[in-house]
Structure formats: C-alpha cells, structure tokens
C-alpha cells in the first residue's frame, strides 16, 4: 500500500516535472523576449543602426509589392548611377520571415505596422533560439543541461547585442536557424531518422536564406563527420545524417538567388563535397567488409587502396590546380580574412574598415559571455564523460567558434550559443554532483535516525531503488493506443532513461560523493556565479546594447538629454528636397539615408563596389574644386557630412576620414595616405568650406552646423 501511494506520488512527480520543464521553457522564452525590450522602453520602438534600416526598407517593399516584385527588384535609390538588384543580392530569410509574420497578422485583421513587426522579430526569434538550444543540449546531455543552456542563451550579452528589439538584422533569425540546424543534425545522428534528416536540410535552407554564416554549418558538419569516421564511429545513422543534408541542402541553397551556383562553385562548400565522397567510400568499405570474408577483404583493400590512391591523387591535383588558378583561391574576401586574419588589412581595406570585422579584445570576451568563459572548459570536460557522437559535435563546435570569434568580433555571436551549451552542461553537471552529494549525506543522516534497528547500508539503497522502480512501473501502467502517444511515450522513456542512467551512475559513483560542507559551499558559489551572470546580462541589455545609435542620450545633472540629430537631418532631407535628389555621404549612412530620407545615395553599407566607394572617398579627401567636380559628375545635389566635435560624438566623419583616404587611395593612386596624416583638421575645415557652388554648399553647411550644435539646442 505504501508502495502504491509512493507510485502515485512518483507519477505525479513525473508529470509535475514535465509540466515544470514546460513552464520553465515558457518562462525562458518570455525572459529572452522581454530582456530585449529595454531598447523599446528606454528609447522607443525604432529600427536600430545601419543594416537594419536596409532590411526594414526591403521588408517594406516586400509587403507593399509582393514576393514576385521583390525577387525582381532593381533598386535605383542606391549606388547611383549603378543601382542594385536587391532581390538577387540579399539574403532574403529575414525579410521573408518578417514579411510573412506581417502578412499573417494582417490577414487576421491585426493591423500592425511593418515597422512594429520588424522591431519585434529579433526578440521573438531569440525566444525560438533559446528553445532550440534546449532541444540541442537535451540531445547532447539531457533535459537538465538543456534547460540550463536555454536559460543562459536567453540572456547571453553577445546575442543580446545583435537581437535587441529594433536590431532587425540577419543575425537575429540566423542564430535560431543555426542552432535548429545543429539540433536536427544531432537528432538525426541519434535517431537515424530520415524524417529528421529532411527537416535538417530544410533548416539548413532557412539558414542559407538568412545569413552568409551558413558556410560555418556546411564546414562544421563535414568536419564532425570526418571526425566520426576517423575515430571509427561510422554508422548508418551518420550516413543518414549527412548525405541527405549535402544533397538536399545544396540543391535548396542553390535556389537562393544570392547563393546560386556558389553553392557548388566556391571553395567554402568544397569540404562538404569532399567529405561526402569520403563518407561514401567508407560506407562502401563497411559494406564490402560485411559481405567478404576477412581474408578476401584484405586482398580487396590492398587492391582498392592502390588504385584508389592513384585516382584520388589525380582528382585532388586537378582540384587544387583549379582552385589555385583563381586569384582568391576560390574563397570570398570575408572567408579568407577568417582563415588568414591579416588578409583583409593587407588587401581589402573596406572589410578591415568595419569595426565589427576587427579581432576582439579580451575584455570583450568578458563583456559578451561573462562567466561562461570560465564554465566552458568544465563543459568540454563534461562532454568527454562519456564522449558520444553528439557531445563530440558540440566540442568541435566550440573549438572552431572560439577560433572564429578570435578572428572577427562579429563572430562572437556564433561562439555565444556554443559557450551557452557548454556552460549549461557544466552547470547542470556541477549541480548534479553537488545536489547528489547533499542528498546522499542527508539521506545518511536521516537513514541513521530512522533505521537504527536495521542495517544502515541497505536502508539508503532501498528508497533510491524504490524511486527508480516506481518511475518505471508508472510508465508501464499507462496504456496508450495511438502512434502519436507512443512517440511521446518513447520520448518520455528516453527522458526516464536519462534519469535512470544518472541513477545508475549514482550507484556507481556513490564512492565519489563530496563532503556535505564542500558541496553546500560549491552550490552557493555556483548560485552566486549565476546571479552575477544574470546581473551582468541585465546590465548589458539595459545599458550597453540597447542604444539604437540613431538616437543618443546622455545623463547630466539636469536630466536626460536626447540627441536626435541624425533623424533630424534625415527628416529634413525627406521633406525638403526633391524626390530625385542625390545625396552623397560616406557609405555608413547610405542605408539610413535611403530608408529614412528616401533619397538616392551614391554608396551604401552594402559595399559591393569598392571603386564606387573609393570615388566618394576620393571626393571627400580631395580639395574642394576636385571634390565638386567628382560630385557634380555623379549628379550629387547634397552632401551629408557628420561632425560630432562639439557634441562629443566620436564616430563622426573625421574619425572615418583615414578610411576614406585609404579606400580612395586603394583605387586612385593619387590619394596617398601619408599626405593626409598631417593636415587632417585643416582639410576638413576646407571640405566644409565656403561655397564653390553656393546652393550646394549651403546644404552642407546646414547639416554641418545642425549636428555640431545640437547639444546647445538642448542647453539653451
């Protein structure tokens, strides 16, 4: 009777556990969403920074004109006089996602503006990303680690920095796509189900749609497959996980206009095909091994290896020759700068000029992942105990992403999920050890008091076994007719299994119990560390990463000061210039000018045409007459110059001036960097100068003074 009651209790506990983890996940989603709303609450619901403005503009076009016009959209508002084929040169994932959300809401008669949808896309997808992290980590190390990792990811500052409300950029959805692709890969690897393999290809397709970072996936997964093969872990599951992904994934990727034939032609994808071939060779070897006797097999091996080596060498030689014949060795500039961190500064100043392409400093690691940096090594160790296909994958993931994040600060974003997964595993394992120790010690104390007549050693074995047992019996009692429920049950069984294996390891590791005091202290320290992490994340979300960068605020003793100069200038351009006027500015402001001022710009943040940017750079760094001639030849009517000297806004055009010279000099040799290092300030004053063409210059002066003295507007 007591057992029955206990069984009932355990059933309840089990059900309660499921409900609890569901609600924890729900709350993690809410947390991930709401921690990113600081920008809306502190500032306003507005699109942030530069690239998001372009995405926003594209989304507006999509919602207004529909998908077919979108694919064929030739944008004449930018890169004047060249224009840009937007449909063929953007990663459409983000735009299509937000467009679909908008369309769905509007067809349900919920009239949200496109802007609102765009602003909140990133937080929504962060919630999705944390759920995907839960799934991924659960596949690797069980539900506990999954929940911890999801909670960590929900508020990791590195990810927050790219996904606050309003940060409507590719990364916002791409991280979700990345994690879900990895999850589906691991899931396929664990189950060997073709269903998941197909889903995996679709997730990969979504990733390709969303972000250029998809090359990370298509290189990491082959690396893992290779690792598995080398370490003798080949299985049919590995084949199912990889082969469909390459075939379907490549076909799907080629459908995305911006990728197109690059999916088979550039070197970034080469590794996947190579591993694809190797995998088939290995599969063939295993198959032959199965049907031949060992002796025959040896003969066959010698035969095939000798022939195969020759063929392989020939093929590889041809490939190498082909690849080497192209100047960049078939790699795009950005990818090359990943492999060779010094590449960009040597050859492509325009890539090097972007601050997010610089290598990060150590403090930025602490800022962006905080205590996770300390937990990651512990997580890696935990992944080796025991090493499974799944855990080897996350280890590989973290190792590669650490390298990439070290090269480019932007790729910290790829590193953050890996760090969260590892730290989740480490934290949950540590908690496991400590709580188990405490529980054991407590039980011993209680056991002594309870069973002073009986034998103490068996007394504490029994209740544990009881618990495990009733868990089982509870599951077996339930009768579930339908397939769906069977599946669910299976999942539950898996979960239970995880619990059981932990229970098993409990009995095995009983001797490794830590002393009570130590575990309590350890637990407290962990909780303290977690609290510190939370505090840091909230601070980072609220203070460091929420600024929309088009609105600046500062606190003085008089209160809050708002500098809204950029929008003031854009609004003026929007309302007070002709629709077809051309505005020249440094390329940083191109996207904002097209989106907010709705005027044609010469260059923008897309930076696809180095020569064009160099022309503007040259004009900016030329004497007035020459500059006027260049701008005149480009039909420029207004020049937007940002000067933050008096407000104390550091990233103004003087700050960027050296890059203008460098980029200009890269194409037009008469611009030499050393010439400008001396008379920099002088030159700027001249550019601002007294008019050559009066009308043109007045507009510059207008903007110039407007921004310069905006602070005084507020002070007076």
């Amino acid at each position: 009777m007591a057992a029955a009651a206990k069984a009932g209790e355990a059933t309840l506990r089990h059900a309660f556990g499921n409900v609890l983890s569901f609600f924890i996940l729900l709350l993690i989603g809410v947390l991930a969403f709401s921690i990113r709303l600081f920008s809306v609450i502190k500032y306003e619901s507005v699109i942030h920074e530069f690239d998001p403005y372009f995405n926003y503009r594209v989304t507006q076009f999509l919602t207004k004109n529909g998908i077919y016009d979108f694919w064929n959209w030739f944008d004449d508002r930018t890169w004047y006089p060249l224009g840009r084929v937007i449909g063929g040169t953007v990663y459409p994932g983000l735009t299509l996602t937000a467009g679909t959300i908008w369309w769905l809401l509007n067809s349900l008669n919920i009239p949200l503006s496109v802007e609102t949808v765009c602003v909140f896309t990133a937080p929504i997808f962060s919630a999705f990303a944390s759920w995907a992290t839960y799934l991924l980590t659960k596949e690797v190390k069980g539900a506990g680690a999954g929940l911890t990792a999801a909670a960590l990811l929900a508020m990791v500052p590195s990810y927050i920095s790219r996904s606050v409300a309003g940060s409507y950029d590719n990364e916002a959805v791409a991280i979700f796509a990345l994690i879900i692709t990895f999850y589906l890969y691991i899931k396929t690897l664990n189950t060997g189900s073709l269903f998941y393999a197909t889903l995996n290809a679709i997730a990969y397709f979504y990733m390709v749609c969303s972000w250029g970072g998809y090359t990370f996936i298509i290189n990491l997964i082959p690396m893992h497959v290779l690792l598995c093969i080398v370490t003798g872990r080949y299985s049919s599951r590995l084949y199912i996980a990889y082969a469909p992904l390459v075939v379907l994934g490549t076909l799907l990727a080629a459908l995305v206009p911006v990728v197109g034939f690059n999916a088979v032609m550039t070197s970034e994808h080469f590794a996947s095909f190579l591993v694809f071939i190797i995998l088939h060779v290995v599969a063939l070897v295993y198959y032959i091994k199965g049907i031949l006797s060992p002796k025959m097999f040896k003969v066959a091996v010698t035969l095939v290896v000798s022939v195969g080596l020759v063929v392989c060498c020939a093929v590889i030689a041809i490939l190498v020759a082909l690849v080497a014949s192209s100047p960049t060795k078939g790699w795009s500039g950005r990818s090359l700068s990943l492999l060779d961190p010094t590449y960009a500064s040597k050859y492509i100043p325009i890539i090097a000029s972007v601050s997010e392409h610089q290598p990060p400093t150590w403090p930025s690691y602490f800022m962006d992942i905080n205590v996770l940096a300390f937990l990651v090594p512990a997580g890696i160790i935990a992944c080796f105990l025991p090493l499974s296909d799944a855990s080897s994958f996350v280890v590989l993931y973290i190792v590669t992403s650490v390298y990439f994040s070290g090269v480019m600060v932007r790729l910290m974003l790829v590193f953050a999920p890996a760090a969260c997964i590892m730290s989740g595993i480490a934290l949950s394992q540590a908690f496991d050890v400590f709580t188990r120790s405490i529980k054991f010690q407590l039980l011993r104390i209680l056991g002594f008091s309870e069973a002073d007549a009986g034998d103490g050693s068996s007394a504490n074995v029994v209740p544990e076994n009881d618990a495990v047992k009733v868990d089982k019996s509870e599951e077996t009692i339930k009768e579930r007719p339908s397939r769906k429920n069977k599946k669910k049950e299976k999942e539950q069984m898996e979960k239970a299994q995880a619990e059981k294996t932990s229970a098993k390891s409990k009995t095995e590791k009983r001797l490794l119990v830590l002393p009570m005091e130590l575990s309590v202290i350890g637990l407290l320290l962990l909780v303290f560390m977690g609290a510190f992490y939370v505090v840091h994340c909230v601070w980072a979300a609220a203070e460091a990463y929420s600024a929309p960068s088009i609105v600046l605020t500062s606190y003085t003793h008089e209160g809050l000061h708002v500098f809204d100069d950029f929008r003031e200038a854009y609004a003026w351009l929007r309302h007070n210039t002709e629709v077809d006027d051309k505005v020249a500015s440094w390329w940083d402001y191109g996207y904002q000018t097209t989106a907010m001022a709705n005027r044609t710009v010469i260059v923008d943040n897309n930076t696809w045409n180095n020569t064009h940017i160099a022309t503007v750079g040259t004009a900016m760094s030329s004497p007035e007459k020459a500059a006027w001639e260049i701008f005149n030849s480009l039909d420029v009517k207004y020049v937007l110059v940002v000067f933050g000297g008096l407000v104390g806004y550091p990233s103004d055009d003087i700050n960027k001036f050296l890059w203008m010279v460098r980029i200009g000099g890269g194409v037009f040799p008469h611009i030499k960097e050393p010439d400008y290092l001396v008379g920099l300030l002088l030159l700027f004053v001249e550019t601002d100068g007294k008019g050559f063409d009066r009308v043109r210059r007045t507009e510059i002066g207008k903007k110039y003074f407007k921004l310069t003295h905006f602070e005084e507007v507020r002070q007076s």
């Binding site: 009986g454 089982k472 769906k484 429920n485 069984m493 059981k500 929007r574 007070n576 003074f705």
Partner: protein, 608 residues
C-alpha cells in the same frame, strides 16, 4: 482678438445699420454704415456685418472666394459680442442676374423682411486663408519677413453705402508702407481708412499694406483626423499633419550656429513650436513621424484643459515642410452620449492646433463594428461619404464616416455630432471570437493527438508497426509484472525488518503467504504474456532478453524466499539474531547481485 501667431490673415468686416428706402430692389438698398475691421495680426480674414431686407447680398471677388474659409452672419449684439455665433443667420451662395462675373455672391436671409425705412444691423464674419503674400518672396535666415496685403478701401457691395470706414489692424511691428488715401489715419499698429460717405455701389479703391510679420505661417496642406470609438471606454484620435511654412522662402544657408546663438534675430521667421489645446483627461499622447518618435514635445494640463507643445524635428523656415502624427486617447464618457436609443458622438471638428490653417481637412469617424443608422450633423457644410475599415479582429469591418472640408481655420473648431445605433451585445463578439478560436485550437490539438492518421490500414509497414506496438505493450506488461514482483520482494524485506523490530513471527508469516499468492498470480500472468511474445515474430529480437529477465527474476524470487524462510526459521527457533545474520549474509549478497542484474536487464529492454 488675441495676438495670432500663425499664418492666418484676419479680416473683420462690420457692416452696420442698413436702411431700406424702397421695396427690395437691390439698387434701392442702402448700407447706411459699413464699418470694416481687418485683423492682420494673423492670416485669416473675417467679415462681420449687418444688412437689410429679407435677403442681403454679400459680394466677394472670385480670387478671394477660393480662400474663403468661413462666412458667418449674425444679428448685431453690440460691441464685444460679435463672436457669439449662436444665433447665426442663414447664408447661401447665390447667382443673381446682372451682376459682374468676377464676383461671387452670398445671400444672407434676414430674420424678418425689412419694411421701407426699417433698419437692421447684423455682423458678418468672413475668414480668409492665404490672404497675405510674403514680399520679398525669398529671404535669408537673418532677414525679417515682410508681407503684403491687398484690399479695397471701400467695401465692395452691390448697394450704395452711406458711411463706411475701414480699419486694418497690424501686428505690433514696423510698417514698411501703406496706400495713403484721403482720410487715412494711423494709430499705433492700426490703420484707419475713412469714414467715407455716400459711396455708389461697386466702388473700389485698392490699398496695399506692406509690413513686417514674423508670425510663422503654419499651413497644413492636409490633415487627416481619425477618431476611433471603442465602446470599451476609449476614443482614440490620430491626426496626421503635412505641414509647410507658408511664409517667405528661405534662401541661402541655414546656420545652426547662428540660429542657436541668436534665435530671435537669426531665425525670426522660423517657427519653432505648435500648441495643441486638447480636452481634459486626455491620455496616451504620442507625437511621431514615419521614422520614429519625436522627442521634442511637452505636455501639461489641469482639470479644464490639456496643452501639448510640439516642436518639429527642425525649426521650420519659409517653404520648409514637415510631416508628423499625433495621437491621443480620450475617455469615452466625455464624448459619447445616448439619446432615445441612439448614440451620438459629440466632438470637435477641426484640429486642436492653435492658429493652424488647414487646406484640406479629412475627418474620419470610425464607429464600432456592427453600428448602423449613421447620420452626421455638422455646423457648416462638409463633403461626406462612408467607408469601411478593417481593424483588430474585425470580420465585416467598421463603418467609417468621412467628412472633408477645405480651408479650415480655428473658427471651425466646433462640435459636430455623429448619430448611430449600436447594440451592446456586439461588444462581446470579439472576446467570444477569441475564446472560440482558442477553444477550437485546443480541441483540434486533442483530436489530432487521438486520431490515427495513417493513410493505408493494410500496408505491410502499418501492420508491422501495429504488431510492434503489440509487442511493446506485451513487453511493458512483462516489465510491469516484474516490477510488481520486485515490489513484493520489497514487501517481504520490509516484513523481515518488522520482524527484527517487533519479533512478531505470525505477521511475518502472513506477509509471506500473501506474497506467495501474489507472486503465483504474477507468474501466471507472466506466462501468458511470454507465450504471446514467443508466438509473435516481431518479438524475436527482444525475446532472449525478456526470457533472461524472467529467468533472473525467478532466481531472485527463489533466493528471496529462501532468505525469508531462513530468517523466519531463525526467529521461530529462537536462534540468535547474530547467527541468522551470518546465515543470511551470503544470501543477501546474491540477492543484491541478482537484483542489480534484473534492473540492468529492465533498463536494457527499455532502451530497445
């Protein structure tokens, strides 16, 4: 008339005392005294006057008429009360024969026909927009703005006027020049023409006043006001403005430095802010444009009114444009009333902005979904049509009454009423829709979980799966039974512990008996299931493990029984407990080992 700051030209015309000498033939009608006052401190033109017979004609040149914003006639109530527009006289556009083509005529119906020699005094208020012209047309930032006003010194009328005078009120500033006629006097900022006596009909004498006016000319080219009624307690007003500074065009550069250093000199003609007078208890006010919130605004108020001061993103100089949106919520009970089963909305027509001339005003009243019998009563003629708007969770759309009017001045800021019928039950439609939606979602979820979605019921895979399901069920049964066996063993153990504590051999024996019975039953069950598993082909894989499990369990069972008997025996024979423990220890070890094996097997099977 307070000082006006907007680009509004005010033109006050007061016509006094008309004497009727003959029967109502136009030429016989004499305006005995016409007194016009033109207020140029702003940019709206008002004619106030009094005329006779049953009908009096007012004439305006066509050029002026297109900017005529308001024309109102009211009985004269003495000075200072001309603005009470409560008892106004009907005015309508007429086209009398034999009149000059370039003039437009309005007829004022008098309350009673005038007899011969009778006189009647009334005021006419006419308001014109855009009557001031900046001259020079382009100025720099530092220049002051000069404007030109053209009018006739004599009142243009088809009647003979006995005495008439005109006074032009200017803002308190410099007068560049003005037309000097006889009898022209200037008092401070007021220019007086007249009085002139016995003027024939249609007498005309142009005058031009050129003066300084730095009052910003705020002109809204288009304003769309959307008033949305929610019966849940809110009236949401959203106003979209397209604003232009209608004054002298700015030429040359705009220097923020100069503007900031000496805003009154360098930027005198710019306008910096607008003030909106809103009803009290207004809430959720916002001020933004298409690229986001505009942070330069200020809201204050008391129980009688709320004032919102908004600054455009940049100071507006002549010819500059901007566009923005303001929105606010109002409590429903202040504006919506019930009358004989009808509901009516009573709200102001024009924009709440002070001194704003609106070229084209569109007022949209969005009524709740399901309202009908809509009618509008407005104090002046407006164009009117209906639309529907689909908003939150609408099925059929909300009826929208659209009122459109050109040349709107602050004088138009009067209340208008929209009457409609609305049933309270319609309010519950949307909540119910939501409830139903979620309910059906959950039901669909439940149904989906319980329905076998297989397409083919006879395919090999389906059958195999069914079989496999059965096998799994059987295995679960086995596990179940084994687990119950294990529980029974535990019970036995427990009874042994009880025995060692209480020494009650009988109770222990009873427990043993019960356990025996239970175990026998269980083994029967087990046999049944096992035979099924053996017969099933799908189970061939798992069968050896299951059989091993069963065998191990049987072994364990025997061992436990043996142990139990030994211990009980010991107690019965009263051998020492120490002795029994020694004997049991070996058995206990085996039991623990077996138990471990059984559990391991269970897990293994689970995994399969």
């Amino acid at each position: 008339m307070g000082v006006r700051r907007k680009m509004a030209l005010r033109f006050d015309l007061i016509i006094f005392t008309i004497l009727l000498f003959a029967s109502p033939v136009l030429s016989d009608l004499i305006l005995s005294k016409v007194d016009r006052r033109i207020d140029l401190t702003s940019q709206i033109v008002e004619n106030e006057g009094s005329e006779p017979v049953s009908e009096v004609l007012l004439a305006f040149p066509d050029l002026q008429v297109k900017d005529l914003a308001l024309l109102k006639a009211s009985p004269h109530e003495g000075k200072g009360k001309v603005k009470s527009l409560s008892a106004s006289l009907p005015v309508e556009n007429v086209k009398p024969n034999g009149m000059p083509a370039a003039l437009t005529f309005y007829a004022v119906k008098l309350p009673k026909a005038l007899g011969k020699g009778d006189s009647y005094t009334f005021d006419v208020l006419a308001v014109f927009a855009h009557a001031l012209r900046p001259f020079p047309e382009k100025i720099t930032q530092a220049d002051i703005q000069l404007v030109v006003f053209q009018e006739s010194a004599f009142y243009l009328t088809p009647y003979v006027v006995k005495v008439q005078s005109l006074s032009v009120k200017l803002p308190e500033s410099r007068i560049e020049s003005y037309t000097k006629l006889e009898n022209t006097k200037i008092h401070g900022s007021e220019i007086k023409y007249g009085p002139y006596e016995n003027l024939p009909s249609f007498s005309y004498s142009p005058i031009v006043v050129h003066f300084e006016s730095n009052q910003p000319f705020a002109v809204a080219q288009e304003v769309v006001r959307e008033i949305e009624i929610s019966h849940w307690g809110n009236v949401q007003v959203t106003e979209h403005y397209k604003l232009v500074h209608g004054g002298a065009q700015n030429k040359g550069e705009f220097s923020r430095l100069d503007y900031q250093a000496r805003p009154t000199i360098r930027g005198a003609s710019a306008f910096k802010y607008l003030i909106a007078k809103m009803p009290p208890r207004v809430h959720s006010v916002y001020y933004r444009d298409e690229i986001g919130n505009i942070s330069t605004s200020n809201l204050w108020g008391d129980s009688k009114k709320t004032e919102l001061l908004i600054e455009p993103r940049y100071p507006l100089f002549g010819g500059w444009r901007t566009a923005f949106t303001i929105g606010y919520g109002l409590p429903l009970k202040d504006f919506l009333f019930e009358l004989e089963g009808n509901r009516f909305l009573n709200i102001t027509f024009g924009s709440p902005m002070n001194e704003l001339v609106i070229d084209n005003l569109i007022v949209k009243v969005v009524l709740p979904e399901g309202s009908g019998d809509i009618s509008v009563s407005a104090p002046f003629p407006v164009n009117q049509w209906e639309e529907t708007k689909l908003s939150h969770l609408d099925l059929t759309g909300r009826p929208v009454v659209v009122l459109q009017k050109t040349n709107v001045v602050p004088e138009h800021n009067q209340f208008f009423q929209v009457y409609y019928k609305f049933s309270k039950l319609s309010m519950l439609r949307e909540p119910f829709m939501l409830i139903f939606g979620f309910f059906s979602l959950f039901v669909a979820g439940i149904v989906y979980m319980h329905v076998d979605m297989s397409i083919s019921k006879s395919s090999a895979a389906y059958l195999a799966r069914l079989q496999w399901d059965e096998v799994q069920a059987a295995i679960q049964q086995v596990e179940n039974v084994i687990n119950r066996c294990l529980t029974t063993h535990d019970k036995l153990e427990a009874s042994l512990r009880d025995l060692s504590r209480t020494g009650d051999v009988q109770a222990c024996k009873a427990a043993r008996k019960a356990a025996d019975g239970l175990l026998k039953e269980l083994s029967k069950e087990l046999k049944l299931v096992l035979s099924f598993l053996q017969s099933s082909s799908a189970a061939s894989q798992i069968l050896p493990k299951v059989e091993e499990l069963v065998a191990k369990e049987k072994d364990l069972q025997e061992k436990v029984m043996a142990k139990h008997s030994t211990v009980v025996d010991c107690y019965e024979k009263k051998t020492g407990i120490r002795d029994s423990e020694n004997r049991v220890a070996a058995q206990q070890q085996k039991i623990t080992a077996l138990r471990q094996e059984v559990e391991n097997l269970l897990e293994l099977i689970d995994e399969i």
